[in-house]
């Protein structure tokens, strides 16, 4: 049987995601480097001491709240981040992260120049000879940003919204349009008010294609976007809407579409409203009456009503609490956040600060299992892994771990609770990834465990330094003893990689 075009993208296209990236690596090694403003070179921040001969070696030790907070607002708390917190304080660090423009991230931007499709128009991406190139580059760019960006909380929120407004990248034109959704809808609105990102998403050509609104016409409206807009993006399945509401929302959005490929006057793949296919009749949606004779504004009115609906406040608050606190967030926290959502008009930074200040958050250490991408990025960040060339094997590992960005077919986004990720194949993939990474068996990725252990001489120092680095704290005695027993069997130097691999594979590293 022939492989369908769709399945081609699902498999080989994504498999090749890192090849585009590898082509540019000799000139621009994709290593994690201390960036301007956060480097020892700037003289402003203390980083991990590199030449201190003491036993035990000096470690960047943070208080538990810092460890917890950094693990939730980043894809892995590097020593540089810990040092920055110790310099300016945790609250100021959070404020800094909430103002991403204040953080220099030139080095990450530089990495993005390896991906030409990020700056192309949809028409240019469409014309590429290599069908899967836009997908490969966006997937690789996303993983690299999580791995390298200094604006870590922004990346966490980009991940959150990318899943909340999930678009399966291999569905028809989403292949060439999701890049714009990422760059123009999700990223600039990572810290926006909810109504603003909802509005941006509703106009997103990729979303209009993914949920079929682009094809919806007054003669026979397509309900896909209307339903998921209410069920998954705003007021939730418990929002009290009926089939009639869905039909009327679909009618309100008729005419919201994209410019097609053969349009001589407007650029392909951009949003446009087409009056002629819009249903101008009166529509009732929940308590909102939209009078007859309206146009594009009919949809805007629906978005405005949904963004300010109490059920949306509760739904988004629940999802944020689930993301940042616990799989089963404390109802009191959700209720408090729902009030803040309403008072702040769905202001993301206000909500995040309220979460970080809550007791539920402070008492939630270890309650979130890392999703595969969080596991991957944290392992890369904390081992100072360097991408040295073509790494098909890294892509294969991402696939085995089970979470290729944008490779989720449903509009609900990747699951955010441990029960989905705690599987036999998932756990095995994590153990293997830890072992393969630290023993330099993933072709194209380099890790120097020796340099991470500083000048540690004893098994005890090695275990402590590595766990401090990977986990933000030393291991509890029972786990520590297991590793000490291993570390002191045979030659310590030969065991370094496996000790590091075991910590990455340990239950302690699977949580954040």
């Amino acid at each position: 049987m022939k492989v369908s075009r769709r399945n081609f993208i699902r498999t080989s296209g994504l498999f090749a995601a890192f090849t585009a990236l590898a082509a540019c690596t000799p000139d621009k090694p994709l290593s994690f480097q201390p960036f301007t403003g956060h480097s020892s070179g700037s003289g402003s921040i203390a980083v991990v001491p590199t030449a201190v001969a003491v036993t035990p070696p000096t470690m960047t030790v943070a208080d538990p709240l810092t460890v917890l907070t950094l693990s939730r607002i980043s894809f892995g708390a590097t020593p540089e981040m810990v040092a920055r917190v110790q310099q300016i304080g945790l609250d100021a660090f959070i404020d800094e992260q909430l103002n991403p423009e204040s953080i220099n991230d030139d080095a990450t931007d530089q990495l993005m120049s390896n991906f030409p499709t990020l700056t192309m128009t949809p028409a240019q991406r469409y014309a590429l000879p290599q069908f899967g190139q836009p997908i490969q580059e966006l997937v690789a760019a996303t993983i690299l940003r999580q791995w390298h960006s200094q604006r870590q909380l922004k990346e966490v929120m980009v991940d959150f919204w990318s899943n909340h407004f999930n678009i399966y990248i291999a569905k028809s034109l989403c292949r060439v349009l999701k890049t714009d959704d990422d760059l123009d809808v999700i990223r600039p609105n990572a810290f926006a008010k909810f109504g603003d990102i909802l509005n941006a998403s509703a106009h997103s050509p990729a979303m209009l294609i993914f949920l079929d609104n682009a094809e919806s016409q007054k003669a026979a409206p397509n309900e896909n976007y209307a339903r998921e807009l209410m069920e998954l993006q705003t007021i939730s399945v418990n929002g009290g809407y009926t089939q009639t509401d869905i039909t009327n929302v679909a009618r309100a959005f008729t005419g919201w579409t994209i410019v097609g490929r053969n349009n001589l006057f407007k650029p392909f793949g951009t949003y446009q409203f087409v009056e002629r296919i819009h249903d101008t009749g009166q529509k009732q949606v929940l308590n909102l009456t939209i009078p007859a004779g309206g146009g594009e504004d009919d949809g805007t009115k629906v978005l405005d009503m949904l963004a300010h609906h109490p059920m949306a406040a509760q739904f988004i608050s629940t999802k944020l609490a689930r993301r940042f606190v616990s799989d089963n967030p404390d109802p009191a926290l959700v209720s408090a956040l729902t009030n803040i959502f309403t008072q702040s008009d769905g202001d993301t930074p206000t909500l995040l600060k309220a979460i970080f200040q809550s007791d539920a958050f402070k008492n939630s250490a270890g309650q979130k299992m890392k999703r595969p991408l969080e596991f991957l990025a944290s392992a890369m960040r904390l081992t100072d892994a360097v991408l040295t060339g073509k790494s098909q094997q890294l892509v294969q590992q991402v696939k085995l771990l089970g979470q290729i960005p944008f490779d989720w077919q449903f509009p609900n986004g990747f699951p955010d609770t441990a029960s989905f990720w705690a599987t036999t194949s998932g756990l095995l993939a994590r153990w293997n990834f830890g072992n393969l990474l630290t023993s330099n068996k993933i072709h194209g990725v380099q890790v120097d465990v020796k340099s991470l252990t500083s000048d540690a001489q004893s098994a005890q120092d090695v275990v402590d330094v590595l766990s401090q680095r990977f986990l933000g704290t030393t291991l509890p005695d029972d786990a520590r003893n297991i590793l000490l027993d291993f570390a002191s069997t045979g030659d310590l130097g030969n065991n370094l990689a496996s000790i590091a691999g075991l910590i990455l594979g340990s239950p302690h590293f699977q949580v954040r």
Binding site: M1, V3, S4, R6, N7, R10, T11, S172, D212, E215, S216, Q217, A220, P221, N222, E223, N224, R227, E231, L232, V237, Q243, K399, L400, G402, Q403, Q409, F410, N412, A418, F420, A422, T423, T424, S425, G426, L427, L428, A429, W431, N432, G434, N435, L436, S439, K441, D478, A479, I482, L483, D485, F486, N495, A497, S498, G501, L502, G505, S506, P507
Partner: protein, 421 residues
């Protein structure tokens, strides 16, 4: 070799390579037989393969009611033409009223062999049109009930009167476990047999393994999953997975779904205690450009049916003790929409394939597609509860009589006699 071995004996046997030649030469396949249950309490029934078509299959365009004139009124651009032997883009007639979509041609041989039965106008009684609620209800086997967290297969395994300690008793293909498998019996999820072993610095793997086991014995929440993982890895390490050649020249689709089915056959033939396998095939949410005889839906139907036919062929004689059943969260709106697709609907069709199936028949209490016969916003009505189909398979083929535990608070509405036994 019929003598039952305990799992420990088996490990000893294979690890010491005792009488390797004698054992292997006497065996039917590339695996020595083994048992995970004492005599008399081993699984008596069929291997159950459950295929979930995620997104909501358009059952009206898969098994077309070409004898219902309303079908042609509702599907102005998507309708499949009435069967005609002269043309391979028309429906393939089954019984004068129903026909197969031409892309389901691989199922025709199974139909003729009476190894394929079809149930139509079947589904869940819950009115939800949400993918996620509908899937949850369907996989948990508890429509409308959100508090029961186990799945129907999980409860079947729990309530079955036999024993089976194999970590491959139930497998979920793909990275994420199907909700239907959720329950107290361990489930192994699997993407790739070839990758399902511990990897790293080979000279240290044994030691690494030992320490990982210790690290996952400290009382953490992942301990039991880790234990399942070690057991599964150990068992699969005894299986020769190289150069698997499907029997009977079976051609699996070269897709994740096809690969998953092929691996189910490999594991089944390894005789490592497989009872239930769940396989997903996605992409059925055809709101737009569904395609009548060319397009997304026909491609999916080809993939679906090629896979079913390949597994049946590959299993050879073993297919006599295998039942495959397909399901999807809901069907689609009877009338096509303005974008050449169909919106979320209600009633659907299911395929039941296997050696013990009373095949060659469409089981349907056809409600009709006239306006006053449609359900909710204009959907095919459900006249057969999907649990009636599953319950009968579980009871007669899989041989678990404890149906009230598999489907709590449900009384089977009608006996279909869709399977033998």
């Amino acid at each position: 070799m019929d003598a039952k071995l305990s799992r420990r004996d088996f490990m000893k046997l294979t690890t010491t390579r005792m009488s390797t030649w004698a054992v292997s030469s006497a065996l039917p396949s590339w695996m020595p037989r083994m048992a995970f249950a004492p005599d008399g309490v081993e699984p008596p029934g069929d291997l159950l393969v459950v295929i979930f078509q995620r997104g909501g299959m358009d059952g009206l365009n898969a098994v077309i009611p070409h004898g219902d004139a309303d079908y042609y009124h509702l599907r102005t651009s998507l309708a499949i033409a009435e069967p005609s032997t002269a043309n391979d883009t028309t429906g393939i007639d089954l019984d004068g009223f129903f026909g197969l979509h031409p892309s389901l041609k691989p199922l025709k041989d199974l139909w003729d062999e009476k190894a394929l039965a079809i149930v139509h106008a079947v589904g869940s009684p819950d009115p939800t049109h949400s993918h996620f609620d509908a899937m949850d209800y369907m996989e948990r086997g508890t429509p409308g009930e959100k508090t029961i967290e186990t799945g129907w297969i999980g409860r079947h395994l729990q309530s079955a009167p036999w024993q089976n300690t194999s970590p491959f008793r139930a497998i979920g293909m793909g990275g994420i476990m199907q909700e239907s498998l959720r329950g107290p019996i361990p489930v192994t999820t699997l993407q790739s047999i070839a990758d399902f072993h511990l990897q790293g610095d080979v000279s240290q793997l044994a030691e690494i393994r030992k320490r990982l086991e210790s690290l996952y014995s400290l009382g953490g929440s992942l301990d039991s999953i880790a234990d399942d993982t070690f057991n599964a890895v150990d068992l699969l390490s005894k299986v020769d997975i190289s150069n698997y050649i499907p029997a009977g020249n079976a051609q699996y689709p070269q897709t994740e779904y096809g690969t998953a089915l092929k691996q189910v056959a490999q594991i089944a033939k390894a005789d490592i205690g497989l009872e239930v396998a769940c396989v997903d095939i996605g992409g059925w949410d055809t709101h737009n450009a569904e395609g009548a005889t060319d397009g997304d839906m026909p491609k999916l139907l080809d993939e679906l049916s090629s896979g079913l036919a390949a597994l049946y062929t590959d299993m050879g004689d073993r297919a006599k003790k295998m039942t495959m059943v397909t399901m999807s969260e809901f069907g689609r709106r009877a009338q096509e929409n303005g974008s050449g697709g169909t919106d979320h609907g209600h009633g659907n069709c299911m395929f039941v394939v296997g050696g013990g199936v009373n095949g060659g028949k469409v089981y349907a209490d056809w409600p009709g597609l006239a306006p006053d016969k449609l359900y909710g916003p204009g959907d095919l009505n459900v006249t057969t509860d999907y649990r009636d189909v599953l319950a009968e398979i579980v009871e007669k083929r899989v041989k678990n009589q404890n149906i009230t535990q598999v489907f709590p608070d449900y009384t089977v509405a009608k006996t279909l006699n869709i399977v033998q036994g």
